[in-house]
């Protein structure tokens, strides 16, 4: 055991996403990677479950349990629940209490275009948890680092992060973000679109978890792909009885396409504002796609066809942000210090 004061300091990285919460602890790696959902007992106010266990309860609870998703569209919508979630996770996974958090350095990531108020809420959250030293970084920067891109060179890189609540597009060069934009249209929005589709065409209402499963299993943006048909269960809205419905990947593609078109529009808008020198770099190096949306089959082809630049989906789209936090913790986000070589 080291006893020096410096070594006792904890380095903590938090990727508080709309869909998933990831916690990175220095020297340990990613200690938590589960959905950002928490379940409370209504009567006692105690936390019953968090993460995956709580996620399984979504849409299935009785009146004694309340399920809360503390984040909405990339921002914290329920500060109390967000704090409870983080406290529960830190306590359960690593036995980190308020006391040990007092001597920690924490980095929290947020989407690119969050308001000052939304950022302040993130800081408030950390303060309430007794974290003394907190700074906020943009997700795309961490994502690029986590993807293994050396952003400290004077070379332009474009990152597209399709998450749960927001889609962020940014250009990074020389260790920091040159410009970035985001829209509040991502995974959750797509899931809702699928629910709407099934309601409209089949008169069947499906739950959130089912819609999410439908999206993961059937999403394919390649128009020439073979049509896959899967069964999903829901409730017939006319008769009221439970019912199976057959959903084809073709239908899902048709509702997802407009959403991805919006993403492409955003990429185009960012590219338009990019200085010509960086444009040239991007043209050469291509676009990196991360986030849960990057797992959609055929996304490379879809973007490439419309933007005419090479597109790469990184190998760890779900964890890259948390992994990138490792580097940001080393240099506190300073662009002059190349943390990748430290």
């Amino acid at each position: 055991m080291e006893t020096g004061k410096e070594s006792e300091k904890l380095g903590l990285g938090i990727d508080l996403g709309t869909a998933n919460l990831l916690v990175f602890l220095e020297k340990k790696g990613i200690i938590f990677n589960e959905p950002s959902v928490i379940a409370f007992d209504r009567e006692s106010g105690k936390v019953i479950a968090a993460g995956r266990d709580a996620y399984k309860m979504v849409g299935k609870v009785h009146s004694k349990i309340s399920i809360i998703k503390p984040l909405k569209d990339g921002g914290i919508s329920d500060l109390h629940a967000a704090k409870a979630l983080l406290t529960y996770v830190l306590k359960k996974v690593e036995d980190l209490t308020e006391k040990s958090l007092g001597r920690s350095t924490t980095v929290i990531c947020c989407p690119s275009e969050v308001t000052k108020i939304e950022q302040d809420v993130m800081i408030d959250l950390a303060r309430e948890m007794n974290m003394s030293d907190v700074f906020i970084e943009e997700e795309i920067k961490a994502g690029a680092l986590g993807a293994g891109v050396d952003i400290f060179q004077s070379k332009g890189v474009m990152i597209v992060d399709i998450g749960g609540g927001t889609t962020d597009v940014g250009v990074i060069s020389f260790g920091d973000i040159v410009l970035s934009r985001s829209i509040r249209m991502a995974g959750t929005y797509m899931t809702n679109e699928i629910t709407k589709l099934i309601k409209k065409t089949r008169n069947v209402e499906i739950g959130e978890l089912t819609a999410e499963r439908c999206k993961i299993e059937l999403a394919n943006l390649n128009p020439n792909a073979e049509t896959v048909i899967e069964k999903f269960a829901g409730r017939d809205m006319v008769k009221g009885v439970p019912k199976w419905v057959d959903i084809s990947s073709e239908e899902v593609r048709k509702v997802l396409e407009p959403v991805f078109e919006e993403v492409v529009k955003l990429i185009a808008a960012v590219l338009k504002d990019t200085s010509p020198e960086l444009s040239a770099d991007i043209f050469r190096n291509g676009i990196l796609v991360t986030g849960g949306g990057a797992l959609t089959t055929g996304i490379e082809g879809f973007i490439k066809e419309r933007i005419q630049v090479p597109v790469t989906v990184i190998s760890n789209p779900l964890t890259c942000v948390a992994e990138g936090l490792k580097y940001l913790l080393k240099n506190r986000g300073d662009y002059r210090v190349n943390s990748m070589q430290m």
């Binding site: 479950a49 609870v61 829901g234 439970p242």
Partner: protein, 342 residues
């Protein structure tokens, strides 16, 4: 000195049958909810089978009472007397050592009825009295794991009420109740026989006819020789007043039951309609569990399958499911959740 042991007792206070489970000793009482009292002294002469056999056959010094009606306590005083008598009989004056009482109740009873039942516990000198919904106990007693985020539907058609419930995470998500069940069917049979055969029959005869002939769908019940079953009912001719017998056909009973089941059907549909879609999806998979005395009617699962279009299973222990469930629920002591999920 005898050891002072803390006993927990589970009670299924049904309209037709009273079942009592004593911790560590099993189900000690399973008899009809009927008492016979001496009118003069107001003392109980007999309970259960003995009392039921007296129904309709007593002289005016003895009164046979069904202290429960439609799943509710109509006569608190009598029910208390009844419970005390039975507990005294089976526990042999160890009633003082009962510390916990779990009483199962139908789903949609009013607060007044609830407090009447709760009072029962305190009147017996038992501090810890917990109420539990019958359908929850029925599901647990039939071996369904309700403590996971997975929706199950239970229909419990007993003597006084038909209960419908959706269970998930250890408690009832929604439930509906209807005062159409075994006793109601019996009364309909009596009315029918009176109108068609001009014959007045007793409750016991009507019940026997129902048990022998009841069917809802499929071929009519046949005897060993292949002939359709009939029941020879004996009673009093309405016109002449003389004893008489009449032959009741299985088809007649079916017509009566189908008429009664119309209202059960509409409540079932209303329950399914109010089910959250995610749970409706689970029910397509898990099906519906039937319990209670009336689940023994022939063709009942096919009947419900045709309405709800999901698989219907019969509880292996229709008569004792509720009290078997008490066994497990006593350990929970009214909590809806059994600690950690894993």
């Amino acid at each position: 000195m005898s050891k002072k042991k803390n006993l927990s007792v589970g009670v299924d206070l049904g309209t037709s049958n009273l079942l009592i489970y004593v911790e560590g000793q099993g189900t000690l009482f399973n008899e009809p909810s009927v008492i016979a009292i001496d009118k003069e002294s107001q003392k109980i002469i007999s309970v259960g089978y003995e009392a039921a056999a007296l129904a309709g056959k007593t002289h005016d010094k003895v009164e046979v009472i069904h202290p429960l009606h439609g799943g509710v306590i109509t006569d608190t005083q009598r029910v208390k007397q009844f419970l005390l008598f039975v507990l005294d009989k089976i526990l042999l004056s160890r009633i003082g050592s009962v510390t916990r009482l779990l009483i199962c109740i139908p789903s949609e009873i009013t607060e007044t009825e609830k407090s009447a039942i709760l009072e029962l516990g305190s009147d017996l000198g038992i501090k810890n009295t917990v109420l539990n919904e019958e359908i929850k106990a029925a599901a647990v007693g039939s071996g369904v794991d309700i403590f996971v985020p997975n929706g199950h539907m239970v229909i419990d058609i007993g003597g006084g009420t038909a209960d419908f419930g959706i269970l998930s995470l250890g408690a009832v998500v929604l439930s509906k109740s209807l005062k159409v069940a075994g006793n109601f069917f019996d009364k309909q049979i009596i009315d029918h026989v009176k109108a068609v055969h001009k014959l007045e029959i007793g409750l016991q005869t009507a019940e026997a006819a129902k048990i022998k002939l009841a069917s809802l769908t499929g071929p009519l019940p046949v005897d060993d020789g292949g002939a359709t079953l009939t029941y020879t009912a004996m009673g009093r001719d309405v016109i002449s007043g003389l004893p008489k017998q009449a032959v009741i056909e299985a088809q007649e009973i079916r017509t009566i039951l189908l008429y009664c089941f119309e209202s059960i059907k509409s409540v079932l549909l209303a329950t399914l309609e109010a089910t959250p879609p995610e749970l409706a999806g689970d029910i397509v998979d898990n099906g519906i569990l039937l319990s209670g005395g009336c689940s023994q009617i022939r063709g009942i699962s096919e009947y419900f399958e045709a309405i709800a279009q999901v698989p219907v299973t019969l509880s292996a222990v229709p008569m004792t499911a509720v009290v078997d469930g008490c066994k497990k629920l006593i350990k929970l002591n009214g909590k809806h959740f059994l600690g950690e999920l894993k």
